[in-house]
C-alpha cells in the first residue's frame, strides 16, 4: 500500500519525538473525521509555541477552534467576520504594541475562499501597513464550510456544487497564484507547506516567526467530504499533491524564490486525481490537460526562481 508520511519519518530513530512535544490543541474539536485542517493547526502551534494569538474568520476555521462555550486551542483566539483577517491581525498587533508586549506572534488563519477571494483586500492592506504578523491560508480548495462552492483556489476540473461538471470555463490557468501576488504586494517571507511534510512545515513556520513584518504560509489541507475521498487518505493524498507537482513546495525569502522540497521522479497527476471522487468525471483528455497545466506551472516556477537569483 502507498503510504502517506510513514516511510519519510521511519528513517529516523524510533522512540523519539521528531516534532515539538508540547500540545496546544485539545481533542474533541468539531472538525470532520480525517480533516487536514486540525493537523495543520496543531503542527503550526507546535512550531510557534504558546506565546501566540490567533484570529479567524468564517469558515471551518471558525468551528474547529471550538464552538461556544468551548475552546480547543490553548492560546487566545478572536473570531471575526469573513473579510477581515488582515485588518483584525493589524488591530491585535497595534493593541499588543500599545501594551508593550513584543514577544507575541500574531497569526491570522483563514481558508482559501477567505484569502484569495473575500479577504484579499484586507490582507493586502495589512501587508501594505507592514503589520508584523503571520498570515496562514489553509487551502481545502473550495468554500467547504458552506458545502463546497468553487473558490479562486479550486483547481481546474474539480467538482464543486457550483461547478458540477468540473470548472470547464474558469480556472483554465489553474489556481490563483496567491503567493506570487503577495510577493508583488511586498510580503517579507512566504512559503507553501504541506501537512504530509510536518518537519518542513514546522521549519518554515519557525523561519516565518523569526522574521519581522508580514509573512505568509500557504498550507495544503485536504477535506475528505469536499474532495470526496476516504478520510484515512488525507495525508497520503496531501503527499501525492507535492510528489505529482500539483502542490509544489517553495519559498520566497530574501528576495529569492527556491524549492524547499525537490520533486524527484515526479509522479503523473493521475495518481493524485484518482484517489478523489471530485475528479472522477474527468476524461483522459482532460487529465492530460491537467498534466500540461502542472508541467507549465512548474516551468513557470523554475523560470521565476532562475530570474530571482540574477
Amino acid at each position: 500500500m502507498a503510504r502517506g508520511g510513514g516511510e519519510l519519518i521511519r528513517e529516523h530513530m524510533s522512540g523519539k519525538f521528531i516534532i515539538p512535544r508540547e500540545e496546544l490543541m485539545h481533542p474533541g474539536h468539531s472538525a470532520c473525521p480525517g480533516c487536514g485542517e486540525p493537523i495543520a493547526m496543531r503542527l503550526l502551534l507546535k512550531a510557534l509555541g504558546p506565546r501566540t494569538v490567533m484570529n479567524v474568520p468564517a469558515g471551518c476555521c471558525a468551528v474547529i477552534p471550538g464552538v461556544w462555550p468551548r475552546y480547543s486551542l490553548k492560546i487566545p483566539l478572536i473570531d471575526h467576520a469573513f473579510e477581515c483577517t488582515g485588518a483584525t491581525s493589524s488591530g491585535i498587533r497595534a493593541a499588543l504594541d500599545a501594551k508593550g508586549m513584543n514577544d507575541i506572534t500574531v497569526v491570522g488563519w483563514a481558508g482559501d475562499g477567505g484569502t484569495v477571494d473575500i479577504g484579499l483586500q484586507s490582507l493586502s492592506g495589512a501587508i501594505d501597513r507592514g503589520t508584523d504578523f503571520l498570515y496562514v491560508m489553509y487551502d481545502n480548495e473550495a468554500y467547504m464550510n458552506t458545502g463546497s462552492q468553487c473558490s479562486g483556489s479550486t483547481p481546474w476540473g474539480a467538482w464543486t456544487t457550483t461547478t458540477p461538471g468540473g470548472n470547464e470555463i474558469s480556472h483554465r490557468t489553474g489556481k490563483k497564484r496567491i503567493l506570487e501576488m503577495l510577493v508583488e504586494n511586498g510580503i517579507s517571507y512566504a512559503a507553501t507547506v504541506n501537512i504530509a511534510f510536518p518537519e518542513d512545515l514546522i521549519k518554515r513556520a519557525q523561519i516565518a516567526q523569526s522574521i519581522r513584518g508580514p509573512k505568509f504560509l500557504h498550507i495544503l489541507s485536504p477535506c475528505p467530504s469536499g474532495w470526496k475521498m476516504d478520510p484515512s487518505k488525507t495525508v497520503e493524498v496531501a503527499k501525492l499533491a507535492t510528489q505529482t507537482g500539483m502542490f509544489p513546495l517553495y519559498e520566497y525569502r530574501d528576495s529569492q524564490y527556491q524549492f524547499t522540497e525537490e520533486i524527484k521522479d515526479r509522479k503523473p497527476v493521475e495518481e493524485y486525481l484518482r484517489l478523489q471522487r471530485r475528479f472522477r468525471h474527468l476524461s483522459p483528455t482532460q487529465i492530460s490537460e491537467i498534466q500540461n497545466l502542472v508541467d507549465n506551472r512548474l516551468r513557470e516556477l523554475d523560470a521565476r526562481m532562475e530570474a530571482s537569483r540574477k
Binding site: H26, C35, S232
Partner: protein
C-alpha cells in the same frame, strides 16, 4: 450555566475546553495497535487530527484516546509497519 440572556457575558467568551465533547461516539471503526509490530516511529501521533494518539513519555508505545478518536483511519493508513488495524465497532 446561563439561565437567561441577561446572564450572558458582554461578549462571547469560551469557558471550557472541547475535551468535554465525546467525539469518540462518532466512530464506526476503532484503531487497534499491535505493539509487537509497532516500531515507535510516532507517525500516528504526528498525524492524528484529533490529538487522540497518546505517547506519555519519549520511548513509550502509543495508545489511543477512545473518548475522542473519531476513527478516521489516518493512523492505520500511514503506519509504516502496518501495526494499526481498523476494527468495526459493535452496533
Amino acid at each position: 450555566m446561563y439561565e437567561t440572556y441577561r446572564d450572558l457575558p458582554p461578549i462571547q467568551i469560551t469557558t471550557e475546553s472541547t475535551k468535554g465533547n465525546q467525539t469518540g461516539t462518532w466512530r464506526t471503526f476503532r484503531p487497534v495497535i499491535d505493539l509487537d509490530k509497532c516500531d515507535r516511529c510516532y507517525t500516528c501521533w504526528i498525524f492524528c487530527p484529533d490529538v487522540s494518539i497518546i505517547v506519555e513519555e519519549e520511548g513509550d508505545y502509543p495508545s489511543i484516546d477512545l473518548i475522542h478518536c473519531k476513527g478516521c483511519g489516518i493512523c492505520a493508513n500511514d503506519c509504516g509497519p502496518g501495526a494499526i488495524t481498523m476494527e468495526r465497532e459493535p452496533l
